[in-house]
Symmetry: D2
């Protein structure tokens, strides 16, 4: 299906960047889960642009829960959350209507939707829609917390600067929850911010690498084929605009390792079966093994740069040059991370809703 | 869903390594597609083990088409292909029934299926099932060929050796089609084979990186959200046993690039709109842009090594040591590539079956 | 899935009777379909209560299109339509919170959702949600009209009175489109209205039988198994609250016919292949045969009657008696018919979105 | 999807009447369920033709379980069961290749599949495929039995003869389990058999009405919208070839009842909440209420009669006459009932596999 994701717990996404609102329907979530509007607000704030590292279009993100919540808890019926768009300025877009911006979906949208798409601000392709994912994702994150499962993401690399890796998963994730620029080493975070600001000053942009961890996930979650834990998470995470790669555990850097170096031997740790190492990122045969689930995702540099770019005028097929004005993000990686958490939480809730036996 | 993948064109997979057979049902494929049993045979042969780089369990892979094909063509009804298991030797498995092999699904299967799983030879988790994917994938590959769309995969890196990258996509893919050890530079292939043999002689194993390309895919294939071209391909490819990472276009190595370096400017090439570069791997906003689709996937080193390994005896919770005997692959990357082609083709056929408008 | 229906064109439904709004997301609909807000308004008005034959809770049904429509046409992105609730009076419901109303979903909701459900006015189970189905259904009906396919429903029987059956399908359907109380024979309609009013005066209610026809549907729509045209339509129609039966073509009354009486012989009518009779209701082997599709559905008498009824107090398990006050429909059959049209249209659009070959 | 049905527990069906085999894949079924091949055999025998009331093509129905069962129990992996075709005689079909049989899927298959369908014996549309549904359905029935849920169907009406209705659901269902011609009143059964034989002697055929009951189903099963218990059962049952209508509880005959006559008042029966009557057939708001679930389905008279019939020659568009020779069923209602039980059981298992909360 197109704008619906998940098997038993599903999210349906709608909206356009410059339309009346963006929103999402979360369906299948168990009744009785406490819905903390303050926490939804907090998560939306983590996604909000700020400072020189983000776009100047700052929306309130005042959300409205239209359904599925009663007396502070989920009812078992679908939860629809709507977030009105208030700050959209479409004036810049009319003039680039026929000259697709490189790296954006303008050209592919034109081909797929035959000119009927809402082209303003990226329309339905806009990262603006991730606000709705974050809103419903907050409920999924709350549902997981009630089971002792935590999800957290930090910026592992940006502008050539590395953050430290996860050490104590649970503590690190808790620490990240309130961090606006999500790094485990604050100093490195400052260097990254500098790099983004520098790129921005040049009219340019940056990407980077996110690292996500899940702690407390019991063994046995996932399927042997197709809906493997890795397959479902990859599907979810690669549908976040700008993310173009994912790797679990050691990932690509282990391409030269031998089996004897990559193996995760089992041990017994206080009565619990664990692995000594975690090269496999907490997943074997598509199913969680009780270790922290760890993956990294690649965020491409945002294509909205303020430098002149070559493109084609679709009206006459001639090559031409455009310069994108208006508000744009010099980086989205720091805003993406709460989207990554949200999609991860939605996938895990979905898996946990099925009776394994 | 569990063992079914796809939206309109679906594949349903069944079987166990040491059961009577493995098989798959391909449903939704258009009627009238020529089914060349010779080509299915050829694809199965590409997956077959051979020489010192593979397991010694060599199955005939005699397949039987049970349904959906009539007078040499698909009928529009589901195609079920069954491949009997003939060479399974279960004697080695009884003794490791309660001592899960590190890096395998033995432990996670035990937790998920509560001891009812067929543990012999990895059971339903076995790479053996990919034979069925290859058989039905051959039909998907044929269906794409009729539309001028070609899919090919080569071993980009193995044992520290790099193959050359794709140059002329169409020509390179055609060349790969008949290559048993799929490299674009034969000399590098020989070095890789040496490296695998060397690891094997040490009772060890190797992994590596596959690179897949699709040529001839028109612009407009994919969805803006969730069922993005990248999301669906990632889902499909990460469900191949042993594959733990995927990246499109430049991927992780572009983490330090700026937007001005990563952008793919549009141009007009003989009346066709194209991009000058292909950092985005042929996909923008989740939808194909008419350029070759390119992605790389990480294959972990096979966990079946012949060295002693530490594990836990599930019967008493004590740590113990096992040594895996029997036939095993010192590398699967050269066998995986035809599976990657098959899954890629199935995803593309699925997308092409929907009326865009 | 729970509140999403369809394969390629899907509708996702949300809302509660006394919550802020009801709404639906229509996804997968082709771009470029003209969206006539006047027609949506018209369809919602057909569903609106009026006179003594309906509830006194009369909502404006002012709808808002939040997404998926741009410059008067669908964009190919999901269409979300929201209809605020303005006239909900929850005061009557608190007192019956623990005494489920017979024939309603009160008791089953309590069991399924464990007391977390929004019990006010039937909550998520309320027929109020069908307003959202009608709103998105109007777009589906428009899309079908562009292909020459018409859908119409009339009240075949109510209060012991029979309407005449369909004669000229196309003309009859066109006639029904503007009829508030949908009958083909107006006199019979007046008798039915009398019967409803009489039941209402007694604090009682009525049900009846709807008959739906589709004209202009080409042959070849439907699947041989599971997603047969009958199976999908039955699934859709039986999810309309109060509908508990469906029959295609002759239906149950043909239980005593012989094969020689039920057969539909083929003939050639002006170059077109047709059947002389239509006992099969336009469907053979799950697939449309080019004849009008005809089915009837049974609408049970509404359970909201104003007579004292026996029930159980869930708090203490004691039997007790309740009398339902407030606004209620003495019949819903005349309001249901536009819902039946809407669900039928959604199913047909879904089928037509798949490339048969 | 096309040949796959269900949400979490799915069945995928394949095969053609005159192909090598028919089969089905049952996926998602819990591990550890006892698989009694004797019971599968017994169920297949109930579906087998016999005497003068059925076709003369009597297949062994020797089935093979290819996967998903180990040491006598389900493993949690998909169960594929294959039933070879041995008695197919295609000689009669070549001559009617271009002259579609009235009431069959011949014409609609030609339109949908463009002439590529396997036309022999109805191909993929054949009732022969229900053998595979019965085989996997037997496992679903066993899984339900372990939870105290029983499913049974009897022939309520055939040839103008009525069987008695259900009285003691559990006892009646148990009685039916071993009845080849499934009636509750044997004498009436004999009269029905006479009626079928008489029709058969005239080269004609009969249909009728089946009544299915489920006892022991707990309250709370089903969804408020779309995947209502009625919607899913209707979808499943109406995909059985020849079934064209379904009604729950009182059904169409209650079209003239008032709400005060149709209501099911609640009472407390030994601590359990029940309803005094069961007009609603055990379902309120799409969800089971703890009462027996009861529905009736209409089976059309089989279209394969031995009388001359008019049709059109697709090669030249001329009207012509055919007489169908070969083996055919003068009635299928007695064979259908075990298919109805199987589909019902599959739907119920599917619902029970989801965590309600």
């Amino acid at each position: 299906m197109r704008n619906t994701f998940g098997n038993n717990i599903t999210v349906t996404l709608f909206g356009e960047s410059h339309g009346p609102a963006v929103g999402a329907v979360l369906d299948g979530i168990a009744p009785g889960i406490s819905v903390d509007t303050g926490f939804i607000r907090h998560q939306l704030d983590l996604r909000k642009p700020w400072g020189a590292v983000s776009t100047g279009r700052i929306e309130d993100d005042d959300f409205e829960i239209l359904s599925g919540v009663f007396e502070g808890r989920t009812t078992g019926a679908p939860v629809c959350i709507v977030i009105p768009n208030k700050k959209a300025d479409s004036s810049e877009y009319e003039k680039i209507r026929t000259t697709p911006r490189p790296g954006h979906a303008d050209y592919t949208a034109e081909i797929k939707f035959g000119g009927y798409q809402d082209y303003r601000g990226g329309g339905h392709f806009s990262g603006r829609l991730t606000a709705a994912l974050v809103a419903v994702g907050a409920i999924a994150i709350s549902a997981l917390k009630e089971k002792g499962i935590l999800v957290g993401t930090h910026i592992l690399r940006c502008g050539g600067v590395n953050d430290r890796e996860f050490r104590e998963y649970k503590e690190d994730i808790i620490k990240l929850a309130d961090t606006r620029f999500a790094v485990l080493d604050e100093e490195r975070g400052k260097e990254m911010i500098c790099a983004i600001e520098k790129a921005s000053a040049n009219g340019d942009s940056l990407g980077g690498i996110l690292e996500t961890a899940v702690s407390g996930l019991p063994a046995g979650v996932g399927e042997p084929w197709f809906d493997t834990l890795e397959g479902m998470l990859a599907h979810a995470v690669l549908s976040i605009p700008g993310i173009k790669g994912i790797e679990f555990g050691d990932g690509f850097r282990a391409a030269d390792l031998r089996g004897s170096e990559f193996r995760d031997e089992l041990c017994c740790d206080g009565g619990e079966i664990r692995t000594r190492t975690n090269h496999n990122g907490g997943v074997n045969g598509g199913i969680s093994n009780g270790m922290p689930v760890v993956f990294r995702s690649f965020v491409k540099p945002t294509p909205s740069i303020h430098l002149p770019q070559k493109t084609v005028d679709l009206e006459n097929g001639n090559e031409t040059e455009i310069t994108i004005c208006g508000y744009h993000d010099p980086a989205i990686i720091h805003r993406c991370r709460v989207v990554a958490d949200s999609m991860t939480a939605l996938v895990l809730c979905d898996f946990l809703s099925i009776n394994a036996r």
